[in-house]
Amino acid sequence: MGDRPTVAGQGTAGRRSDADHESRIAQLRRQLAVMSGQPDRLSAERPDVSVIPVPVALEPLFPAGGLATGAVLACDGARSVLLSLIASASASGRRVGIVGMPRLCLLSAAELGADLSRIATVPYPGADPVEVASVLLDGMDVVVLNLAGASVPPSRAKVLMGRLRKRSSTLIVTGGQWPGVRTSIDAEVTGYRNSLSHSISGSGSGRSGMGRIGGMRLRVSAVGRGRCRSGVDVELVADGFGASRRVGMVRTDGYRSVAADPVLEVAN
């Protein structure tokens, strides 16, 4: 449509070709930078990679600003982080397949904003969950695979990752070893929040018998190929009453390296 400018559309076509021109120059510059060996690969790759949104609080952990398609992500530790990734992916219209996780509480995902109609689960995938995941990768945008302690041989992983790139889906593995993981996320709970006192309970601050668990504080750290470990502290909070009650994930601190960060709050 835009290839042939009509008389009426001269102005728009002209502007568009200017923009095309500029983006083309920028792309050529990036290619030059890559070919001359400058360490600019991140910026060179970035524009072509489409990403699947992640919760805003977790964005600093993802260099591309979201789940990169065609890549494998490992997500271990506290399940809330995995659930929030599922929630944001399904809320953005992606289809999510979950393999081998009968214990995952999808109610919790729904509270985090997941669109359950876009989620399909295969709770008991049988003897070979990787096979099931590889089938699902053909049609789902995000596949969450519980390896159940298994470690996948590189030859098999390579085949699967080829398919992953072709279909531009994302594989999230948990509970096992996967060779060639681009980003590895780990999360641990550092404290709980009492719905009444609005403080982190435990260590004597919350009285027993009062309130309920109204949220939790998580330390989420990510390590990836070619970058050092980085971490964020996020808090899962529930606000509001009745039908308007919502669970959200908010950041509680800046974005800094875990190594430089003294451990402030040990587990209660």
Binding site: R79, G97, A127, L136, D138, V189, G202, I213, L236
Partner: protein, 529 residues
């Protein structure tokens, strides 16, 4: 319906849906007369169970009526020829008439011998002229066969049949108004629309003082449904001329089942896929020739030793040749490779017979696609792909392997999400908008669990929940596969009248648990993590 006139491009002469009914009066008597080779003016009556069910016009002139006893009828008309009722004879003598009508109009539905309906489509009107012209032409055709017929046109099939009995043409949209002044007995006059039950209903209504169809139609449907039988609801719909199914074009439904004798027997996946592909093409060709789409398909494989493997798959969008081939391949793939699932079993011998049966077909014209949005077939390619891979996983692991979560009503975290097998109706178990007292506020635990633990007080005695909904003592220890001390606890919150309760505890290794107390035992229901 799916006829082209529903697009509204044709003129006002042929609106969305018109039905022409052709009624041959006293057909059983006419057929009996024709079978006995009698002249048309000889009085004939057909008897069933010693009562007159039909009589010719000549007999009626002598005073014979339907429902009379044999003796009464014979007294009224001593010269009358009597015949027993015979549905086979009625159909046999009606067949030449149907054939003659089909010569002119190919889409004919025979309601019973002596009564047929024809959907008046825009195409038909274009070829044969307006409704009047078609009706005249068809009555002439039937007349040429030696029978007499009267025609009626209306929007609904039932109205058209009643109109045919009077030789009238009901204005478009005027069905209900036309029916209103008719006596209530007309509801039961045509056996094709209601049997014995309808006669009883009409009798009852008349005794209640409802004498016209319009009076019955005026009642709210809810009142009719709560006071009368299901048949009354159907009658009420007829009386109101509520749009019902249109006449089915008289296409002969061929047997679409396809069978293939595998010779040599199949024991490899690729051979099965090859055969499946060929059968799918064949089936699709047949479906296309009849202009129907398949929405439900049963694939059955029979081994040499007689073991059967049947699976039925349903598709929202019509299955294409590729879809059919894939379904066949996935099913045989899963079966022949022994099913990688837990409950898979291999066939005991090679496959000897393959059978594909389209158990549900619909008229391809009746398929409606929305142009955009969340339409029925969800034709955006990603949804299509997702469905295909999920069906494939079902082929590998068995039908109930793929689950779709649906939010449901309940109190516990596992009650509030129902996992529905893919392909089943995704309806929640319970109403989610109900109040559910005792439901825990958000957030819910991220991990579900089902582990029995013991909750002990500082003295080592088990903690119970009293009838008043309080702990018997303060919980201090949780004993599972090891012992944790409790740093913080909250609850218990009773969840019903059956003595169950929930509580939250925070253990010394930074884990908060949701505990459920039922029948004097504590169960870890979820982990907040």
């Amino acid at each position: 319906m799916g006829d082209p006139s529903s697009r509204g491009v044709s003129g006002p002469r042929s609106p969305a849906r018109r039905v022409l009914a052709l009624w041959c009066p006293d057909w059983p008597a006419s057929a009996a007369g024709a079978a006995a080779d009698l002249a048309p003016d000889v009085p004939v009556a057909v008897l069933h169970a010693n009562r007159v069910v039909a009589c010719s016009a000549a007999a009626r002139r002598s005073g014979v009526r339907r429902g009379m006893r044999n003796r009464q009828a014979q007294a009224a008309c001593p010269k009358m020829v009597l015949a027993g009722s015979d549905a086979g004879r009625d159909g046999q003598w009606y067949e030449p008439i149907v054939a003659a009508v089909t010569e002119v109009v190919p889409t004919v539905e025979v309601l019973r011998p002596g009564l047929l309906v024809i959907p008046l489509t825009a195409t038909l009107c274009r070829h044969l002229g307006d409704e009047q012209a078609i009706a005249e032409r068809l009555t002439d055709v039937i007349g040429a066969c030696g029978a007499e017929a009267s025609a009626g046109v209306a929007d609904e099939m039932f109205t058209a049949v009643l109109a045919a009995r009077r030789g009238q043409c009901v204005e478009p949209g005027g069905d209900a108004a036309w029916l209103a002044p008719l006596p209530i007995a007309e509801l039961a006059v045509e056996s094709a629309f209601g049997g014995h039950e309808r006669t009883e209903l009409v009798d009852l209504l008349r005794r209640l003082g409802i004498t016209t169809i319009g009076a019955f139609a005026g009642f709210p449907i809810r009142d009719v449904a709560t006071r009368f039988t299901a048949d009354a609801v159907a009658a009420h719909r007829l009386a109101n001329a509520v749009p019902d199914r249109g006449p089915v074009g008289g296409r002969i439904q061929e047997d679409l089942l396809i069978e293939y004798d595998c010779d040599p027997p199949i024991d490899r996946v690729d051979a099965a896929a090859f055969v499946g592909r060929r059968l799918a093409d064949e089936l699709h060709r047949r479906l296309a020739a009849m202009s129907v789409c398949c929405t439900r398909l049963t694939v059955e494989a029979v081994t040499q030793l007689g073991q059967r493997h049947t699976r039925t798959c349903r598709a929202v969008a019509p299955l294409t040749a590729d879809d059919i081939a894939c379904r066949v391949r996935w099913q045989l793939d899963g079966w022949l490779t022994g099913g990688r699932g837990t409950h898979g079993q291999r066939p005991d011998s090679p496959i000897a017979l393959l059978r594909i049966d389209p158990v549900e077909v619909i008229d391809s014209g009746a398929m409606h696609y929305t142009l955009s949005g969340h339409g029925l077939p969800e034709s955006e390619s990603d949804g299509e792909r997702a469905r295909a891979v999920l069906a494939r996983v079902q082929g590998l692991l068995g039908g109930d392997a793929v689950k779709i979560p649906v939010l449901s009503g309940g109190r516990g975290p596992s009650d509030q999400v129902r996992l529905v097998t893919l392909g089943e109706d995704s309806v929640p178990h319970h109403d989610r908008s109900a109040p559910w007292p005792g439901r825990l506020p958000q957030p819910s635990p991220a991990t579900l669990a089902e582990a029995a633990v013991a909750v002990l007080d500082p003295d080592g005695d088990p903690v119970r929940v009293s009838a008043r909904g309080a702990f018997s003592a303060e919980p201090a220890l949780v004993v599972g596969h090891r012992t944790w001390s409790v740093r913080w606890w909250a609850g218990p919150w009773p969840t019903g009248l059956d003595g169950t309760a929930r509580a939250q505890v925070l253990l010394d290794d930074t884990r908060a648990l949701l505990l459920h107390y039922r029948s004097e035992h504590w169960i870890v229901e979820g982990i907040y993590e």
